[in-house]
């Protein structure tokens, strides 16, 4: 038995089957301690599909118990994916009956359009994008059918105008993330969400035709998730980015146009950097060469600061978002909602006005300092 680094094992699993990957699988059966650590991470990172695939190919050597554990974990992931897809279909039926146009984001849309087998891409919730004009109606419709918000919005109308969206919990304790845009904060505010509904990628599910984002918007959304999403579940997102770059057709000119319009080239650069490092990819397609040569703007550097590093938080991203809000009136409304939110929001997020005020002052002060640092660097 061998005991390589569990982190290397998980990276090897997440990159299994990817063209140009130099990350490798262990050459022998793992000892119990290494297996247990790696297995836990594989389940948390939602890459059990690649592990089972590697086991079936004989590329990952394992004891009978290890193999049984992997198969059992993957069956659970598959069963959850089906429940979530059923939830997706019932949710879409409700929204479409209300004449609300949607785009399916992430999990199911990626699984059915980007991977040779949808079972290779596990997911833990449903993500739907609705146009800002339909956002309140969509939310009201889903709440009328039993879904409840995990967190209240700071003030009425904030989410529709400035927010990322809302996480809704269904009576069955499953989650639907209703998005107005891809991410909270400055990057999310810079995206022209209405433009995302002009094109789509179609896929079939349960006898119906669903619409995901078009290839290039889907790539940028995937880059956001990979570059600034939950680090504990990053490998599946990095694999998505690699799949999109290496195994799908991307119109690089359109990617560049969207990056320029949404001021998010730095996100693509970071996502590609993390992906290429994680899997040791030795290919340099056009979009990779472009991203590596990209010179980010001051806005992009400042915005990324709010999402990365030890101090990343939803609150920091929201404060940094003030710079991306267009117009003085809108800025005042945005800042006012965050400084004096509703009591329900406070209870859920900060506990009280005094604590929130102290935190807000600290964040605004940190944000100004970061601005000055990045500004002088840019000069």
């Amino acid at each position: 038995m061998i005991s390589p680094s569990p982190a290397d094992v998980v990276r090897g699993v997440a990159g299994y089957g990817l063209p140009h990957a130099t990350s490798t699988l262990p050459l022998g059966v793992l000892d119990d301690e290494t297996w247990n650590t790696a297995y836990t991470a594989v389940v948390r990172q939602r890459v059990t599909g690649h592990l089972v695939h590697a086991l079936q190919d004989g590329a990952f050597l394992a004891t009978d118990d290890q193999r049984a554990a992997a198969n059992e974990a993957h069956e659970k992931a598959l069963a959850l994916a089906l429940l979530l897809e059923r939830l997706l279909l019932t949710t879409l039926a409700l929204l479409h009956a209300g004449e609300i146009v949607t785009r399916v984001l992430r999990g199911p849309a990626i699984a059915h359009t980007l991977y040779p087998e949808p079972g290779l891409r596990s997911f833990g919730d449903v993500d739907l994008l609705v146009a800002p004009r339909d956002y309140d109606a969509a939310l009201a419709l889903l709440r009328a059918h039993g879904a409840r918000r995990r967190f209240p919005e700071p003030r009425r109308g904030f989410d529709r105008r400035f927010g990322k969206g809302a996480c809704l919990v269904t009576p069955d304790h499953l989650e639907v993330d209703l998005h107005r845009t891809f991410v909270a904060g400055p990057f999310g505010l810079a995206i022209e969400a209405d433009e995302l509904f002009g094109r789509s990628t179609k896929f079939s599910l349960g006898g119906q035709t669903l619409h995901g984002l078009d290839s290039e918007a889907r790539f940028l959304e995937g880059c956001f998730h990979a570059a600034i999403g939950d680090e504990g579940r990053r490998l599946a997102s990095l694999r998505d980015v690699a799949q999109m770059v290496l195994c799908s057709d991307l119109d690089v000119a359109r990617v560049r146009e969207l990056c320029q319009a949404w001021q998010c080239g730095i996100v693509v650069r970071r996502a590609i950097g993390l992906t290429w490092d994680a899997f040791g990819l030795d290919a340099t397609p056009e979009v990779v060469r472009w991203a590596r040569e990209l010179q980010p703007t001051t806005f992009e550097r400042q915005a990324l600061h709010a999402y990365s590093g030890a101090n990343r938080s939803y609150a920091r991203q929201t404060v940094a978002g003030l710079h991306a809000v267009r117009g003085l009136g809108a800025k005042a409304m945005y800042a006012g909602a965050l400084l004096v939110p509703t009591r329900a929001y406070l209870r859920a997020r900060d506990g009280g006005y005094l604590r929130r005020s102290r935190r807000a002052v600290r964040l605004f002060r940190d944000d100004r300092a970061a601005l000055q640092r990045n500004g002088s660097r840019a000069r």
Binding site: Q56, L78, A81, L82, R86, G206
Partner: protein, 97 residues
């Protein structure tokens, strides 16, 4: 639910297009249109699910699987009849007209 009145052997069955599924070489996981619990097929169940595309009667399914696995037709028929009935009851299969 979808059980035909005259028994299952000559009834032609098709997968309900609303059924959601995931497959690996060893396992097929299914969720029927109204189902809350998924159904897991293994071994010959995986082959049975594969044999249901295109639609087929239980008799045809048994003949196909008996040939594939080199086993006795009657034994295969008696093995798959309850599975087909269970899949029909779960709404995963439906009887074609």
């Amino acid at each position: 639910v979808n059980r035909p009145p005259g028994g299952v052997s000559n009834q032609v069955w098709e997968r309900d297009e609303r059924t959601l599924s995931r497959s690996t070489p060893d396992v097929v996981v299914l969720l029927g249109p109204e189902g809350r619990d998924s159904i897991v097929l293994r071994g010959t169940g995986v082959a049975l699910w594969g044999a249901l595309d295109p639609p087929a009667s239980t008799e045809d399914l048994a003949a196909r699987l008996a040939k594939e696995f080199g086993t006795d037709l009657a034994a295969v028929r008696s093995d798959i009849e309850p599975v087909v009935a269970q899949l029909a009851a779960a709404g995963v299969l439906r009887a074609t007209s």
